[in-house]
């Protein structure tokens, strides 16, 4: 079972290459406003997350994700559901 911190760090590792000029990604980083991710890019991130954690991540969750914290919370929820 991953700790919250480990989960956060692994998701940051997936998002890292998408950060412009290597700027720091925090829990409050906004995926659209700060990382300039369009919906296609966010869907690609979800595919990466699925494979990293071996879970199913429906793209339906996108509407509930604005910041890195939102994303981590959604993935936490899916991991807890054991899916």
């Amino acid at each position: 079972m991953l700790s919250d911190r480990e989960l956060f760090e692994q998701i940051i590792a997936i998002l890292g290459p998408l950060a412009k000029d290597g700027s720091e990604i925090t829990a409050n980083t906004d995926l659209v406003a700060d990382l300039s991710l369009d919906s296609l890019k966010v869907m690609e991130v979800l595919v990466e997350i699925e494979d990293r954690f071996d879970i199913s991540v429906p793209i339906n969750i996108i509407s509930d994700i604005r910041t890195v914290r939102d994303l981590v919370l959604q993935i936490q929820k899916l991991l807890a559901e054991g899916d």
Partner: protein, 393 residues
């Protein structure tokens, strides 16, 4: 904040594009000379991006059928299929499509977009899952958003990636609908359907294929990729459009399940829109007859496709993986893409320019589509125009 402020980014993108190729936003077809020739800005232009695969938009028999239907039944139905909008022609076209595909039932829709919207939002619901190829068309995504199912993407044409996701979903013990396309509209590549059908059978999933660009183009009798791949029995639902090979507008879904017809009553996109006008139904019925009786149209189309694909490949352009009537030229630089697009138009050739995010992998594309109505000379002219612009990339 004003209601239009959120469009600012779009406005900036448009402005940047207008700088290089203002014509892009002002392509108005002033006159249609033939299925492959039009007049734009007073100049004769050869269409190499029309999706008019069998050239039936100006077929004399289709036009005659459309005119007769208009005179007999009027310009529109002014009603939904579930109210006053079901004419005998709608029922006949559904029967003819069922017979063509060898399936029990077919439902027709007012556009291909609505067909996808209706099927994806209705067939599967809450607690069920759609597993779709990442490169599926926007109409499929929109149908998914509109419905209540969980939507999971697999990497484009990656059978291993699909199986991984099917395996993860096994413990859910729910209905899974796999969604792919026959010919992908941007790159013109086919789904690896035989392998996907095998997975569908192994995991007990359902399979829907959108044959929008492959109807009339692939398969011994033009039924699409499912026919070509020899797996029609494993495909539960075939969606298609009348706006490509059949030269009109409209869409359909055909299936073999005994309960298939119930989708009509559960689909908002079917119920809450007016049915197709009599002229569209009549020309589509005639076009389907021609598609079935004139396989030479398809053969001619493929001769053109192979000729242009090889020519562009020899010129060193980066193309889609296999020849098809959709030939995509991939460019990394949107500015150079726009330059070539304009150069082609200056030489009297129209192709589609497609920019991210409408393209896979964020590429900029020049997308050609061929027609059986092209002459060999016209196809060579398209190749010559690309050759003269080769130095740009």
């Amino acid at each position: 904040m004003g209601i239009f402020d959120k469009f600012q980014k779009l406005a900036e993108t448009r402005q940047a594009l207008e700088k290089n190729s203002s014509e892009f936003f002002n392509v108005v077809i002033e006159e249609v000379v033939s299925p492959t020739e039009v007049v734009i800005n007073g100049r004769s232009v050869l269409l190499a991006g029309g999706n008019n695969y069998l050239g039936l938009t100006l077929n004399a028999e289709c036009i005659r059928a459309a005119c007769q239907a208009t005179q007999k039944e009027g310009t529109g139905t002014t009603g939904s299929r579930v109210a006053n909008g079901t004419f005998s022609g709608h029922v006949a076209l559904e029967q003819e499509l069922s017979e063509f595909f060898g399936r029990r039932k077919t439902i027709i829709f007012s556009t291909g977009y609505i067909a996808c919207l209706a099927m994806l939002s209705t067939l599967v619901g809450r607690g069920e899952v759609i597993l779709l190829d990442a490169d599926c068309h926007a109409s499929i995504y929109d149908g998914c958003w509109m419905g209540g199912a969980d939507v999971i993407r697999f990497r484009h044409n990656d059978v291993y990636d699909l199986e991984k996701r099917l395996r993860r979903l096994e413990k859910r013990k729910t209905n899974v609908l796999i969604v792919v396309e026959g010919l992908y509209s941007m790159m013109g590549d086919r789904a690896p359907l035989a392998d996907i059908a095998a997975l569908k059978r192994r995991y007990g999933a359902y399979l829907l294929i959108d044959e929008a660009h492959s109807l009339g183009v692939l398969g011994e009798t033009g039924r699409g990729l499912a026919e070509e791949a020899g797996v029609e029995d494993s495909v539960d639902f075939i969606v298609g459009t009348f706006s490509k090979s059949l030269g009109a507008t409209g869409g359909f879904c055909t299936g073999n399940h005994p309960e298939f017809d119930l989708v009509r009553y559960g689909s908002r996109a079917y119920i809450f829109t007016a049915s197709s006008s009599p002229s569209i139904i009549a020309s589509t019925r005639m076009a389907l007859k021609i598609l079935r009786s004139q396989p030479e149209l398809r053969h001619r189309l493929w001769n053109h496709a192979n000729l242009l694909y090889q020519r562009l490949k020899d010129l060193g352009f980066s193309l889609g993986p296999t020849p098809s009537p959709i030939i995509a030229i991939c460019c990394e630089d949107p500015g150079k893409t726009a330059e070539i697009w304009k150069g082609l138009l200056d030489r009297g050739i129209y192709v589609n320019m497609v920019l991210p995010p409408a393209t896979p992998d964020g590429k900029a594309l020049l997308r050609c589509s061929l027609s059986s109505s092209h002459t060999r000379e016209q196809v060579e002219k398209i190749g010559d125009a690309f050759a003269s612009l080769r130095q740009i990339i």
